[in-house]
Symmetry: C2
Subunit: 636 residues, 2 copies
């Protein structure tokens, strides 16, 4: 039964699972937990006492494996819809003990094979027991190379295991480092395989917010909340700390499923500590309330109290080539034209004193008028400020010009607006403009040839004329973005790794504050100007983040339309939920705590095109991406 | 004029160049140096006073660039055959000074463009001046992406520049690190481009032997020997230290060209210190001896006194898929059959005491008899020891069986040898053998299914019988091998990066001693044997090597034929010049001084094939190579 009906939420996070122990009677176990309100089980596939090497020693024994009954005890849809297979937690494929290592490898393969036979959607793999995971990863990687579509969830503790000394299963290694490191090693060995994901183990103590934040760029599919993570409220019921609550909300928002694990630790009225998910064994009427129900109820309460999803968030993260979609999306942005109108109003007031409003006519040119939104904003600014305005609307796309003509006619603007069907680079203007208005900015500011176009257009701007925008700056920051990276990688070619993408940044971790990259100012009458740029940036990932992987860089822009009127998507100043641009790295780079990331960014101009090149030189050196614009460019 | 005629040497190292200063009269400069005994000039393409930004300031000046005359002053074959273009050494593309940076970029592009126009074979690029080289590399990388075939030699000092405080050109940076680091950064940014290579600057002080050794795995094309590197002998003539002499020999052996640079520093009889290569300016008869002639003569002397090349070295390094060539090469190896004969002799003597030589008949089976070399070795061993021998020669290749029959007839061995035209896995032997002889070993020992074949054949070996070989071990070591890496990379696919190659290791740097990987012993009658193997190896690169790049791993084997009789190619025990096996890394890994390299190696067996997987987990984690044998395997 879903946690609740949250308007607009179609993600998996509505479903809540429960981790159970091994049990011979699966149908009864499933029934008990489903009627207790859970949607699925995380259930051990094999008797935990099983060891292949022990079987061999008692040579004559049955060769049947200790699976929980046959596959017929549940229907195929029950298996695949309600059971996540839990791989034996004793396995240790990197043990120094060769018998244990071989037993582990055989068992893992047998269990995965059985899970595939049952068509389970996912299996939960135990966290590596030691500090090494190469053989475990090699074996899992072989499984991933197979044809199955099954997801493999590697169980990863949020906190270093040595903080959980009470948890026997986590082994005897005392020198264990950040669990992210071992996950990263595992994932790199398996080459970011898209079927390898994470189930986070959440217990009572949480790492720093920065450390937690890393995981939202990683492929986390589930979070296993232990009953010992819960506090007790005044009425004796389980509840979570503020930090845990905030984490739960973030998990829900990132489509991560919750699994409740552990024993009942909160003695509710007339109930004492007792076994939890396997409760059905104890001859108790299955209509009785599930012992973990109070935890589930609390999780459902957290889910239900969330705000409904904002309209923009109801779509899947969008990813497309830079050339497409941008324009359409930007025109829908009403906030943008309000800002333009404010900027134009201020410019009109600055150019025409109140005493001259009747005598001075301001000439305004909209270069790239499109379907007219800036023409409308300009006329509204003129009306608002009482200034007389003459508009030239220059547009090279003949289809847009058709729309523009009908708009002018419809609105009765014929005397105010002159439509020019021409490329602004060829147009011979009959007079010079006081104000030049354009909206040529891409998600990265200068990536849609705004500098080149405005350089060309400024020849019909008066010497003291105003360009709106008057300047713009691109910003960039390193991010973890395993989903985006895997989407890029799935094309298996160089071109996609050297292309920038307009994306909504949904499942990403922002690893350091943004930094400015390139700034352009307009008009620019200096003689030796060049629109080529080179910037070296050094990012510092905060110490308390721990190590993190950089899949690429998120780019934004901030434009000064006029004086204090800004427009942009730079996260520290902009309204959220806007598109950004993503520059991938061909090979993701791991950044250690306290170390810095050195990024080089170039804007290059050739006779027929403009492009970016980028590379990292610290902590390791990447190749230069997109040399000579071989993969990605904008044509002049 | 070549340095000398060394038998078998067809490499470029016969030719010696000279670095000159800028000079307006190129024809005279060239003539002077060629008649002085040099083969080519390293010559500045532009007047060192030229700065693009200065030209602009004096707007009205000629727009012609300060090139050395026109391209017509030399013939095309003179330009391409005798001139290496020297790029202005003042350029600094990573300067904080933007004017200098832009001037440098413009100049570099102009000079390269001029050099391409002249069809020069190579240009010499100055070493980066600061600690950063990203913009320099970006610009060079753009040039490399062009269509020209010109080699770009990056000048790299052997010793850290701060050790050469007298050399003004090397800039003001005091925190300069190992020059290899900057080269490595440059090369990584340019993605190991095959036209980017190295000209090593050799001065008076040399780094440690390990540090020098790194360079022989790098693409070094030239070594520039400065006159200040020379000592003075008793007669006042220049000579080199023992370490320098050893280096020169190694350079010659790796086909690296020598360039002599600097002023005459050795005052020979009746001559004082004077300008060197540009000597021709000073109104001196061009028939006079070249001022650097004594250095050239000494270099020629070092070249001529080298041993002639051994026969095997006269071929280019061979690289081919593992399946091919190995067999042919191994059969030519007469040393191998001498060892086999020694081993068989010892085994015969051990099995048959002297008093029983007349009564006991030893049964010997050659499994995989091929064209008969092991049959011959066995019969010679029997003759040598006086033991009676009955041979079964089992061979599955019917073509080889034809040859075998005619050999037996030719030699009159009909009564001694029974030829069995069969796969040893199917053959039903009429009796059991005392000795099982095979030569199934590949360059990596177990890579040609020797374990599987001998496991199958041992069913017709007596319980106390002897297998020759009785055991074998594979060995491995990390190497720098930029040439091999570039050959693999040129295929632009995953398969070639996950394949092992049988190669002659010519241009490689061995970064750490070999370590044993897998060992197999025969016969092996244990019940639970498996031929799967897993080994984790940790290599320590010596501290005094400095940083180095690992392109992959060189593999070898050592086999115990019988008791103390060994056969193999492991470098610490074997005769040199044998083939090895190369396991590439998809992405080369940089190892810092004192850090360790952690390698995992698996031998995996499936129902129809055997393969290796490999990965690195420290200093960084690589993907697992060749998962499930997807790229490279041997079929059962």
């Amino acid at each position: 039964m879903p946690l609740g009906e949250r308007s607009g939420d179609k993600s998996d996070s509505r479903y809540c699972g429960v981790e159970t122990e091994f049990n011979d009677d699966v149908p009864r176990l499933l029934n008990f937990n489903l009627s207790g309100g859970f949607d699925f089980l995380v259930y051990p596939l094999m008797n935990p006492a099983y060891r292949p090497s022990l079987l061999k020693d008692h040579g004559g024994m049955s060769s049947a494996l200790p699976f929980a009954g046959s596959d017929l005890v549940l229907s195929p849809s029950q298996w695949s819809g309600h059971v996540v297979g839990k791989i034996s937690s004793w396995i240790d494929l990197d043990s120094e003990d060769e018998i244990l290592r071989m037993d582990s490898e055989i068992t893992l393969k047998q269990e995965i094979s059985w899970a595939s036979h049952l068509s389970l959607q996912a299996c939960l793999l135990p966290f590596p027991r030691g500090t090494s995971c190469a053989n475990y990863a090699r074996c899992v990687n072989q499984i991933l190379q197979g044809s199955s579509n099954m997801q493999l969830w590697l169980r990863v503790p949020l906190e270093k295991p040595d903080d959980d000394a009470t948890d026997g299963k986590l082994g005897n290694s005392t020198e264990r480092t950040d669990s992210w490191e071992l996950w990263n090693c595992f994932r790199l060995l398996c080459e970011h395989h898209s079927q390898l994901s994470i189930a986070l183990d959440v217990k009572s103590s949480l790492p720093s917010a920065n450390s937690l934040g890393r995981w939202f760029g990683e492929p986390v599919r589930a979070a296993i909340i232990h009953t010992n993570a819960f506090l007790t409220n005044a009425r004796g019921y389980p509840c979570l700390s503020k930090r845990h609550q905030k984490l739960m909300t973030a998990l829900f928002n990132h489509s991560i499923q919750i699994v409740i694990s552990g024993q009942l630790l909160h003695t509710l009225p007339s109930r004492s500590l007792e076994p939890a998910a396997n409760h059905c064994d104890n001859h108790i009427d299955s209509t009785e309330k599930h012992p973990l129900r109070s935890y589930l109820d609390y999780v459902a309460y957290l889910y239900q109290r969330m705000d409904p999803l904002p309209e923009q968030e109801r779509f899947e993260p969008l990813m497309d080539n830079l050339e497409a979609q941008t324009y359409e999306t930007f025109e829908k942005d009403t906030m943008k034209y309000i800002q333009y109108q404010r900027a134009i109003s201020k410019a009109l007031v600055d150019r025409v004193p109140n005493e001259n409003v009747e005598t001075i006519m301001t000439v305004l040119m909209v270069v790239g008028a499109g379907r007219g939104p800036l023409v409308r904003a300009s006329l509204q600014a003129a009306e608002e400020t009482g200034r007389k305005l003459k508009i030239y609307a220059v547009e090279k796309n003949p289809n847009a010009v058709v729309t523009l003509h009908s708009l002018v006619k419809l609105e009765g603007w014929e005397t105010l607006v002159t439509i020019v069907s021409s490329d602004m680079r060829c147009w011979d203007a009959p007079e010079k403009a006081d104000i030049l208005v354009s909206e040529l900015l891409g998600s990265f500011g200068d990536n849609e040839l705004s500098p080149e176009c405005l350089d060309g257009a400024q020849r019909f701007l008066k010497e003291d004329g105003i360009s709106i925008p008057s300047s713009y700056t691109s910003f960039i920051q390193p991010i973890t973005a395993s989903k985006l990276y895997n989407d890029v990688k799935s094309h298996r070619d160089l071109i996609h790794f050297e292309t920038a993408y307009v994306v909504k940044l949904h499942s990403v971790a922002r690893l350091a504050p943004t930094q400015p990259v390139f700034t352009f100012e307009h008009p620019n009458f200096s003689a030796s100007k060049s629109n080529e740029r080179y910037k070296k940036l050094v990012f510092h990932v905060p110490d308390d983040t721990g190590s993190a992987i950089v899949h690429g860089f998120a780019g934004y822009f901030d434009a000064t339309l006029y004086k204090d009127v800004h427009l942009g998507i730079e996260p520290s100043t902009a309204t959220p939920n806007m598109f950004a641009i993503f520059f991938p790295l061909r090979t993701p780079i791991c950044v250690q705590p306290g170390s810095s990331l050195e990024l080089h960014f170039w804007r290059c101009c050739g006779p027929t095109k403009v492009w970016y090149e980028w590379s990292v030189t610290s902590p390791i050196t990447s190749p230069i991406h997109n040399s000579k614009g071989r993969s990605y460019w904008v044509g002049l």
